[in-house]
Structure formats: structure tokens, C-alpha cells
């Protein structure tokens, strides 16, 4: 038996760079700093993404991306397909947890300054991956084709339509016409299962390669030499965390079915373009802070439309986020500075406060 196994191993060794990989993994280390536990969030986000791929593939077997059948196919998956309820709920929860983990991963790197030289590109790719993740969420939100999906998408696209110059084009491009319809669903489905996964896999591959190639950074001023071997030490720990995440997903899917928790009964019904926009339409929680903060912009600011100014501000904010490694000049000199830290805290506060306000503010 042992001989057979070693023969099999040799067969693969002769054809694949297994030895190289094994050598690499033996030497690859992870710094064991006091902030070591923050290093897991990237892996958690990756794990949830992998869950999305697997569950997404299963859902693809039964989901029908047309206005006439989408709602019914989701209902079919949940009620008739063997473990369909599990796949669907895991997919829904994992999406949200993936974005949450991405945010935590981003902010942990912000404060730990994991973006400083030579890891600027890793940061940029990471931020782009976050944006892509939110794009996954936005496009996936429409696919169940219930009232909440329909009207939340309508509202979201209308906001995108405010963009100067290209707003109208953007609206029509996203809608696939003059209004949200079956064409929008098909388009969003294509974006969700083809375009975004392709881009994400590409960026993710580069991002992971860079992380592996450049190693994990240590916080500024941390002189500890303690390390941990990536394989198998870190990997075992990662596995434990991943299995916990999997259990969490199972727990949520069994005890807190996504629709029952997040969607009021009347909004769970099938979408109809003829219905008026119902009360209680909310975007996904990760867009809530932007949606809510829009409401505080006055109608006109210095002669410009308030919405345009808001969108511009978000655009500037997004660009600022992307360019953190470049405007935080001090980190490249291995120096701490109050500005990036304060900015980070303020951004977190902004997101948290406005997200909460989005749910509790009166008149919402």
C-alpha cells in the first residue's frame, strides 16, 4: 500500500511543481505579532467567497433568470429541491458575511498599515475586491425578484443615474432599457455569474499571489521576530476558523432563514412593475450608510444639485480609500501619524452611525 501511494505521489511530482510548492510552504512564515488574530479576516473573506462559488453553482442548476420564472424558481429551490433551502440560505448569509469580513479585513489593514511599501498594489486590489463584492451584493439582490429586490434596485439605479454626464447612460445600461424590467434581471444575472466572478477571480489571484510573494506585513514599530510557519501551522488555524464560519453559516441557515429575518412578509411577494413603491424599501446594509447620508445633503449646494455633490463626495471618498498608501506618506517612512488613524476612525464612525440611522431614523 505504501509503495502504491509513493508511486502515485511520484507520478504527480514528475508532472506538477509539487516539490517547489512544498519547499515554498515549508519556508513561508507568518509574523506572530500581537495583532496576529486580525490576519485571519482576509482568509475568512476568501472562505465566504469560496462558499459563494460552490453554493452559487448549485443554485445555477435550478435558478431561472427571467421575470416570469425567477421568483418561482427560488421558491422551488427552497421548498422542493433537496437541501435547496440550505444552499439558498447559506448563499444569502455568506454574501453578507463575506462583505462584513472584507470590511474588517480592510480596516484591520488600514490601522495596521498593511498597505505601506511594497504592498500598495495589494491594497488597491483589495479595495477593488471590496467594490466588486458590493457589486455582487447589488446584482444578487435583484435575482430573487421579490418586491424588496425590485424596488431597492430601482432606487439604487436611480441614484446612479444622478452621476453627471454619464448618469442617464449608466441608468439605461444597468436597466437594459428605460426602466427596471425582465431585461434588467437578465443583465444583472450575467453580471452576477459571469462578469463579476471573472474580474474577482483575476484580482483575487493577483491579490493572493502578492500576499504570498510579499509576505504579511508587521505593524509599524513591531520588532518581534517571532513567526509561525504558514503551512501547516497557520493553515491549521485557518481551517479551524473556516470550519467555525461554516458552522455559523449552517446555524444561520437553519435557525434564521434569510428572508424571514430580513424581509417583511409583504415585500417577500413577487415583484410587479405596476405596483407603487412600497414603504420600507431599504438597500442592503453595506449600502445603507451611503443611502442614508444622501438624505442629509441639501437639495442645492453652491448651485449644484445636492445629489450630484453627494455622489461626487462618495467618489472622492472611494478614490481616497483606494489611494491611502499614497496619501499616507508617513507610513512609507515607517512613521505613525494621527491623520490616517483619525481618518480611519472617522470613516468607521461614519459608516456605523449612518448604517444605524438608516434603520432607526424616523420617517424611514
Amino acid at each position: 500500500m505504501e509503495q502504491k501511494r509513493s508511486k502515485l505521489a511520484s507520478w504527480f511530482r514528475e508532472r506538477l511543481p509539487i516539490d517547489y510548492l512544498m519547499q515554498y510552504s515549508e519556508h513561508k512564515t507568518v509574523p506572530r505579532t500581537k495583532d496576529f488574530h486580525w490576519y485571519f479576516f482576509g482568509g475568512i473573506a476568501l472562505f465566504f467567497f469560496l462558499v459563494q462559488i460552490v453554493t452559487g453553482l448549485f443554485l445555477l442548476l435550478y435558478y431561472k433568470p427571467t421575470a416570469e420564472s425567477a421568483y418561482e424558481s427560488v421558491h422551488f429551490i427552497e421548498s422542493e429541491v433537496y437541501f435547496g433551502w440550505l444552499i439558498r440560505n447559506v448563499h444569502a448569509w455568506s454574501a453578507n458575511l463575506m462583505i462584513l469580513a472584507s470590511f474588517l479585513h480592510l480596516f484591520s489593514n488600514w490601522f495596521l498599515k498593511g498597505y505601506r511599501k511594497p504592498r500598495e498594489m495589494t491594497w488597491i486590489l483589495g479595495v477593488l475586491l471590496l467594490f466588486l463584492g458590493m457589486g455582487f451584493g447589488f446584482s444578487g439582490y435583484l435575482l430573487p425578484w421579490n418586491k424588496l429586490s425590485f424596488f431597492a434596485t430601482k432606487v439604487g439605479i436611480e441614484i446612479a443615474g444622478v452621476t453627471p454626464l454619464i448618469g442617464n447612460f449608466l441608468m439605461k445600461f444597468l436597466q437594459g432599457g428605460d426602466e427596471v424590467s425582465g431585461a434588467t434581471l437578465t443583465r444583472f444575472f450575467a453580471i452576477h455569474v459571469a462578469i463579476l466572478p471573472g474580474l474577482t477571480l483575476l484580482f483575487l489571484a493577483i491579490h493572493l499571489y502578492l500576499v504570498q510573494y510579499q509576505g504579511i506585513s508587521k505593524p509599524i514599530g513591531d520588532t518581534t521576530e517571532k513567526t509561525m510557519r504558514f503551512f501547516p501551522d497557520f493553515v491549521y488555524r485557518e481551517l479551524a476558523v473556516w470550519s467555525f464560519c461554516l458552522l455559523l453559516l449552517a446555524f444561520l441557515a437553519v435557525f434564521y432563514p434569510f428572508d424571514s429575518v430580513f424581509i417583511p412578509l409583504d415585500l417577500q411577494e413577487k415583484a410587479s412593475a405596476f405596483d407603487p413603491t412600497p414603504v420600507g424599501i431599504k438597500p442592503e446594509w453595506y449600502f445603507m450608510f451611503m443611502y442614508q447620508s444622501l438624505k442629509y445633503f441639501p437639495g442645492k449646494i453652491l448651485g449644484l444639485s445636492g445629489k450630484v455633490v453627494a455622489l461626487f463626495s462618495f467618489g472622492v471618498g472611494g478614490l481616497g480609500l483606494l489611494m491611502v498608501p499614497f496619501w499616507d506618506r508617513w507610513s512609507s517612512r515607517e512613521q505613525r501619524h494621527w491623520l490616517p488613524k483619525t481618518a480611519g476612525i472617522l470613516v468607521i464612525l461614519f459608516i456605523v452611525v449612518f448604517t444605524i440611522l438608516g434603520y432607526v431614523a424616523p420617517g424611514h
Binding site: 427552497e78 421548498s79 433551502w85 440550505l86 510557519r229 501547516p232 501551522d233 491549521y236 488555524r237 481551517l239 479551524a240 470550519s243 467555525f244 461554516l246 458552522l247 449552517a250 446555524f251 441557515a253 437553519v254 435557525f255 434564521y256 432563514p257 428572508d259 424571514s260 429575518v261
Partner: protein, 760 residues
């Protein structure tokens, strides 16, 4: 040396004197220079005196201009003066006078040649034909403008009448001798001769003095249009102009007459007897519409006039109203003129303007009085009545006191209530109340103006009702309900008004005012607790507690104005108005025949009359307190049906609980609730089906419903199973995770130890 200096007179004095002398003498005929005048001043002094006023008197040689002769002859040489070839002494013949006058007045003679008197220009003219002097006179011939002239507008009729009123002469010429008299009596004649109206035409106003007799019909139009320009212009654009172009009728005189033109009246319009339009138009044609519109505006004008007069008599200042009336009059005139367009739409527009103006008269007159005299007095005498009337539905429709009670609210004091003014007062007997209200409420043509399609048979219905029949036995019975007993008086609200005593929710209390009075009802042998029973009934609670106006009140079962308890074998029809299926099934059931045989009341034998409670399964059995026990033995069909419903209800609850339990596990069981609703509907249908009183039919329905409920329960069970399965699955996953975690932790510990050893 200056003459004035020599004469010692100022120069202005000299100039003034010179001018005076010139004027004085210049105005005098220089008789001294004319032989005719010199002679004839002696021989015919009265003629010469009269000649002073002649229009020709100012001419240089006035006599020879007409008579010829030699004015330069010696004054006493008559032969020389009269010996010229052109000398023409009077009397002249007509043609001679025309010749002589025509020597200067050439244009006039030319016109004369086109006129009806042109024969006078011929060789041997008819002696009846007039020359110039017959009309104009001679010695003196006055200016036409002079009132002494026989052809002055005021005298021309007389001048023309000299021939035209001569029957013999007119007979010779086939002309009517009545024309002058016709003209005299016409509107033109009266205006000119009686009222001295300069605008009115004389004979020559239409006919022209010397020329055309207006034989050409167009000329009539032209003649009329000299004064009546608006009407002529209107006519020329109208359809009638087109007709005239083809047929030469109608034209002005066709409708208005020629010499006997009277003031146009509304009676000319229309297609009725004596109208003008009926000459060409048939009954029902547009002239009738013109007529009705004209009647309307003329009536409004007259009424407006009358109102103003009344107001004036009452001592009010009506200056503003008179101004409005003048506007109405002007608009009326405009409307009359616009008739000549013969364009109904246009005419209607003018009439509407007039009507609008005249409505302002009545409004403003009413404002003068502030309020009607009824209100003024009764505000003091019966203040509650007046205060309440503002809420009355009649007040909304602008029907005031006089609308019901008659009289004239524009008059003050007792005069407003005089029988001459149509005052009716208050009905004397209770039996008179219905007819009093029915004066309006029984007339569909009147009531439709307020509420189209409103019923107007209340009085006839009332006559058949219990109330009506009681009053027919005793018209003075004050205890019997009349219109005002239910609807109120002087504060009557529409039945749709929630404050009305006959609004659905208020009807039971309204009826109870009498029907709840024991002493009152005793006399009629009627039970006195219907309201109390009704109040506690399912209908009463629905109507009075929940405000559900679809629930029946007294009138829905007993009728409105024809209120009467239904007959014993008609009760299913009454209840069947709402409970249609129940009534239909009952009529098909075996119970119908049995009830009829036994003289039992349909529906109410089981459900009661006024105290109808919500039916329960307890009614359906042979247990004490049930309904069926009255006729059925224990263990018979009612008990089986009761058992059916007991089982069904229990099953329904069970199924519902299962679904709720599944739902509590956050399992989607929406389909189950939909099925449950359907099953419960079937149970309700079965309760209606009971009224067929057929056990087999009920059993079939029961089986079907039980199967549905079982299906619901299965859905619930399946949902719970799913939930349990998921939880079990999670426990398994938890176990696996725990195991995995344990392995990983052990492995990590092992690695930690190894690393520690390696580092040592």
C-alpha cells in the same frame, strides 16, 4: 382832410352803420328791379306776401324762373311782360309743372322717370298722376325741412294720402286705399306722428321721394337697412339670405309686413298658429327653439321688472337693480336683433347672456331684503326653527319657506302670509302631511331636477303601509307616524346624511320613538320591544356597534314608506334579499312545504324576528336549548349534522395550530395557510348548505372538506418535519465541527510542542 373828421363821427360808428344798412336792404327783394313783382304786388298782394317764404324767393328773378316772361318790361306793360314764348301762367298741368320745375331740378326729374309716377312725364299723362306742385305746393313752396312744407316728414303722409287714400283713384290704379291708414297705425307711423320720433320713417323714408317704388324686393331690404342696419347685416349672413337669393323670399316685409309693420313680438316666432315662421317652417323646427328661448328671456325680464317694482314699493333703493334691468333690456334687444342671423347657437349665446344678467336682478333684490320676511319674523317667534333650517336639505336646494308653505317672502308682515300670495300654512290634520310633502315629492319631473331618478312613489307606498292605513281609518290620529315623524321638520337632512334620523344607523332609534312606547303601541296591538331585541341581535350589533350599514335596519325588512310586517310565507323573500343562497336552498328544501302546512314562519321560526343571534352549532342538534329539538327526535339528522361541524371545527383548529408551529420554526408554509382559508370557506358554505336540510348532500361536502383540512395538516406536519430535520442536521454538523475542531486543536498543540523542541 378825412371825411370822418369833417363829420365829427368816430370811424367804427361809420362802419357799423354801413353794414346794418347793407343787411337791411340786401335782404329785401329788389322788387323795384323786377316787373313781375312790381305788378303783382298790386294785383295779387297776398300771393306776393306768401312768396316771401318761398324757397325760390331769394332768386334774382324768381317769377320768370318758373313762369317765364320778361322781368325787364315796363311795370304797366303786361303784354311785354307776358308776351314771351316761355311764358306759362298757372294753372299748370302736372306734366307742365314737372317740365317747368325740371328746367332747374333736372336730377329730380330724372329720378322721377324711374319712379311709380313716371307716367307724368309722358305725352298724355294720366290726370291722377301728380306733378311737382301737387306734392310740394306753390307760392310758397316751403323748404322740405320746414314743417309747413307738405312734403315735410310729418306732413308727407297727408300729402300722399290725398291720392293714396282716395278709394276711387286707387281703384283705378289697382292700389289699396288702406295703405295710409295702415301706415298710420304701424309702429313707424305711431312713432313719427304720435311720438314725434325723428328716427321713424315717413312714406318717403322707405319709398324715396321721386324714384323707385321698391318693386325690386332687394330694395325693400335696402330701404329697411337704412335704419335697421344690424338686422340687415345679420340677415345678409344668414341662411335666409341664401333662400332669398334662390326664391326671392323671405325678406324683411315677408315677416314684418310692409305698411302695417308693428313692433315685433315673441308671438311672431315659432311654428304655432299665428306665427310668422309657420309660413315656411313645420312644427318642431328650429323656430320653436327660438321661441322657447325668447320666451325664457322675456319672462326673466318681466319677472325682474316685477321684482324691482315690489322692492320699490317696499321702500328699497333699487337704482342698482334698475341699472341691471337696463342691461337686461339692452341684451334682450341684442338678442332680438341677433334673431336675424337665424343661427340658433348664436341666439342661444345672446339669450344666455341675458339670463345671466337677469339672474343678478333676483340675487340683488333678495340681498336688498337681506333675508325673506319669513325668516325675519320667525327668528323672533320661533328661533329654534330658523336656526335649524340652515341644515335642512331644502335650504341647500334654495327652497325656502314659501317653497312648502306658500306666501311671498318679499312682502312684509301679514301680507307675506295672505292666501292671495299663495300661502298654504301648516297641514291641519296628520293625514294631510303626506299630501303636503307629495306636492313636490310625487312629481318626477320636478324631483328629477334635484336628484335624477329619485323615487316619487312615497305617498302611494305610504297609503299601503301600516301607518297609512291607520290614518285612513282616522285622519286625525296624531299617534300615527307621518313624513315629519321620521324625517323631521325644518331640519330635514338627506337620508345619506349620517345625522339624518333616517340614516341607516339611526333608523332603529327613530322607529323606536314610537314602537318602543308601550302605552302608544298598546292601542294598536303591536309588540313594544323590537328595538331591545334588535339591539342585541347580530344585525343590531353589526349596524349599531360596528357601523356596518350593509346590515339591515327596520326599513330593510319592513319596507320604507310602505312599512308593514312581511307575511308569514314571504319571510324567506325578505331575508333572502341579503341571505340569497340560504333563502334559495330553503325554498328547495323539504322544510318549506312542512312549514307552510304547519303555518310556521319561514326563517324566523328558527332564527327569531328581531332578536336574531349569530347562528351556532348549538342550534343544530336535538339537545336541550337547540332549535331542531322542537320537531326532531334525539339521534336523528340534526345530531349527525352537529357532529359533522364539531369535527370540522376541531380539524380546522388543529390544522391551523400545525401551520403556526411550522411557521415558528421559520419554515415557509404560506401554501398551507392558503389551503386552510379555502377549507374554512368550505365549512362556511356547508353551514349555508344546511338550509337544504339534505343529509346526503352535507355528507359529501363534509368528506371533501375533511380531505382539504387533512391536506393542510400534512403541509404543517411536513414543515415541522423539515424544521426538525434541519435542526438534527445542524446538530450533526455541530458534532462534526466539534470533532474537527478537537482534531485541529490537538494537531496545533502537537505542532507547538514540536516547534518548541525544534527551537530548543
Amino acid at each position: 382832410m378825412r371825411l370822418s373828421n369833417v363829420m365829427n363821427v368816430p370811424p367804427t360808428w361809420i362802419l357799423a352803420l354801413t353794414a346794418a344798412l347793407l343787411l337791411f336792404f340786401g335782404g329785401q327783394v329788389s322788387y323795384a328791379a323786377d316787373a313781375c313783382i312790381t305788378c303783382h304786388s298790386d294785383f295779387t298782394p297776398e300771393l306776393m306776401d306768401a312768396f316771401h317764404e318761398d324757397v325760390h324767393a331769394a332768386n334774382q328773378h324768381p317769377c320768370v324762373g318758373c313762369h317765364g316772361g320778361n322781368p325787364d318790361a315796363a311795370p304797366d306793360d303786361m303784354d311785354a311782360a307776358h308776351g314771351t314764348a316761355d311764358f306759362a301762367p298757372p294753372p299748370w298741368t302736372a306734366s307742365e309743372s314737372v317740365k317747368r320745375c325740371g328746367s332747374c331740378h333736372t336730377q329730380v326729374v330724372k329720378k322721377l322717370g324711374t319712379g311709380p309716377h313716371r307716367g307724368v312725364l309722358g305725352e298724355n299723362p294720366d290726370p291722377d298722376l301728380p306733378g311737382c306742385t301737387r306734392c310740394h305746393g306753390f307760392h310758397p313752396i316751403y323748404k322740405i325741412q320746414d314743417v309747413k312744407s307738405p312734403v315735410n316728414r310729418t306732413a308727407v303722409l297727408q300729402t300722399c294720402s290725398a291720392c293714396h287714400a282716395d278709394s276711387a283713384m286707387m281703384a283705378r290704379h289697382n292700389l289699396s286705399p288702406k295703405i295710409p291708414n295702415e301706415y298710420r297705425n304701424s309702429v313707424h307711423g305711431r312713432e313719427l306722428l304720435t311720438r314725434d320720433n325723428d328716427a321713424a320713417p315717413s312714406c318717403i323714408g322707405c319709398h324715396d321721394s321721386h324714384s323707385s317704388h321698391n318693386e325690386n324686393v332687394a330694395s325693400f331690404d335696402e330701404a329697411c337697412s337704412l335704419c335697421h342696419q344690424r338686422e340687415a347685416k345679420a340677415f345678409k349672413t344668414s341662411k335666409h339670405q341664401r333662400v332669398w337669393e334662390l326664391t326671392k323670399v323671405p325678406v324683411c316685409i315677408t315677416c314684418h309686413g310692409s305698411h302695417s309693420i308693428t313692433s315685433p313680438t315673441v308671438e311672431m316666432l315659432g311654428t304655432g298658429p299665428g306665427t310668422i315662421c309657420s309660413k315656411c317652417h313645420n312644427p318642431g323646427d328650429s323656430p320653436d327653439v327660438f321661441r322657447s328661448l325668447m320666451d325664457k328671456i322675456e319672462k326673466e325680464f318681466t319677472q325682474g321688472q316685477a321684482m324691482i317694482v315690489e322692492a320699490q314699493r317696499a321702500g328699497k333703493n333699487v337704482d342698482a337693480q334698475i341699472k341691471i334691468l337696463e342691461q337686461v333690456r339692452t341684451q334682450l334687444q341684442r338678442a332680438r336683433q341677433s334673431i336675424h342671423y337665424f343661427d340658433l347657437a348664436r341666439f342661444r349665446k345672446e339669450v344666455d347672456k341675458g339670463l345671466e344678467l337677469s339672474s343678478n336682478i333676483s340675487t340683488s333684490v333678495e340681498q336688498l331684503f337681506g333675508e325673506s320676511s319669513c325668516i325675519t319674523c320667525h327668528r323672533e317667534l320661533t328661533p329654534d326653527l330658523v336656526a335649524g333650517f340652515s341644515d335642512d336639505v331644502h335650504a341647500d336646494k334654495q327652497i325656502s319657506c314659501d317653497g312648502c308653505h306658500g306666501g311671498n317672502p318679499l312682502l312684509q308682515d301679514e301680507k307675506a302670509m295672505s292666501p292671495e300670495e299663495g300661502f298654504i300654512g301648516v297641514p291641519k290634520r296628520p293625514a294631510d302631511v303626506g299630501p303636503f310633502c307629495a306636492r313636490c315629492h310625487s312629481k318626477p319631473e320636478y324631483m328629477n331636477g334635484f336628484v335624477p331618478g329619485i323615487s316619487t312613489d312615497q305617498l302611494s307606498q305610504y297609503a299601503l303601509s301600516g301607518h297609512g292605513q291607520a290614518l285612513s281609518r282616522n285622519p286625525f290620529d296624531k299617534n300615527v307616524a307621518t313624513c315629519v315623524s321620521c324625517h323631521g321638520v325644518h331640519k330635514i337632512r338627506a337620508a345619506k346624511d349620517p345625522l339624518s334620523p333616517v340614516y341607516a344607523v339611526n333608523v332603529p332609534e327613530t322607529c323606536n320613538k314610537c314602537h318602543g312606547n308601550g302605552d302608544l303601541m298598546k292601542a294598536y296591538g303591536i309588540q313594544t320591544n323590537p328595538y331591545e331585541d334588535y339591539r342585541e341581535s347580530v344585525h343590531g350589533k353589526a349596524l349599531l356597534d360596528k357601523g356596518d350599514v350593509s346590515a339591515p335596519a327596520c326599513n330593510d325588512c319592513h319596507g320604507n314608506h310602505g312599512a308593514k310586517p312581511p307575511e308569514v310565507d314571504n319571510i324567506a323573500n325578505v331575508c333572502g334579499q341579503c341571505h340569497v343562497r340560504n333563502a334559495t336552498l330553503f325554498k328547495l328544501s323539504v322544510h318549506r312545504g312542512i312549514f307552510e302546512l304547519r303555518g310556521m314562519e319561514q326563517c324566523s321560526s328558527c332564527h327569531g324576528h328581531h332578536a336574531i343571534k349569530h347562528p351556532t352549532d348549538a342550534m343544530l342538534s336535538t339537545q336541550p336549548g337547540s332549535i331542531c329539538v322542537k320537531c326532531h327526535d334525539p339521534g336523528s339528522a340534526p345530531d349527525q349534522v352537529h357532529e359533522m361541524f364539531t369535527v370540522l371545527d376541531a380539524k380546522s383548529l388543529e390544522a391551523r395550530d400545525k401551520l403556526r408551529l411550522a411557521e415558528s420554526y421559520l419554515v415557509n408554509v404560506d401554501g398551507g395557510f392558503v389551503q386552510l382559508d379555502k377549507a374554512n370557506s368550505e365549512i362556511t358554505k356547508m353551514r349555508v348548505l344546511v338550509h337544504l336540510f339534505d343529509l346526503d348532500t352535507l355528507k359529501t361536502a363534509d368528506q371533501k372538506t375533511l380531505a382539504m383540512l387533512q391536506g393542510v395538516e400534512d403541509i404543517g406536519n411536513k414543515g415541522i418535519e423539515n424544521a426538525m430535520f434541519r435542526r438534527k442536521g445542524f446538530l450533526v454538523a455541530l458534532g462534526l465541527f466539534a470533532l474537527f475542531l478537537a482534531i485541529v486543536i490537538l494537531k496545533i498543540r502537537e505542532l507547538e510542542k514540536r516547534r518548541k523542541l525544534e527551537s530548543e
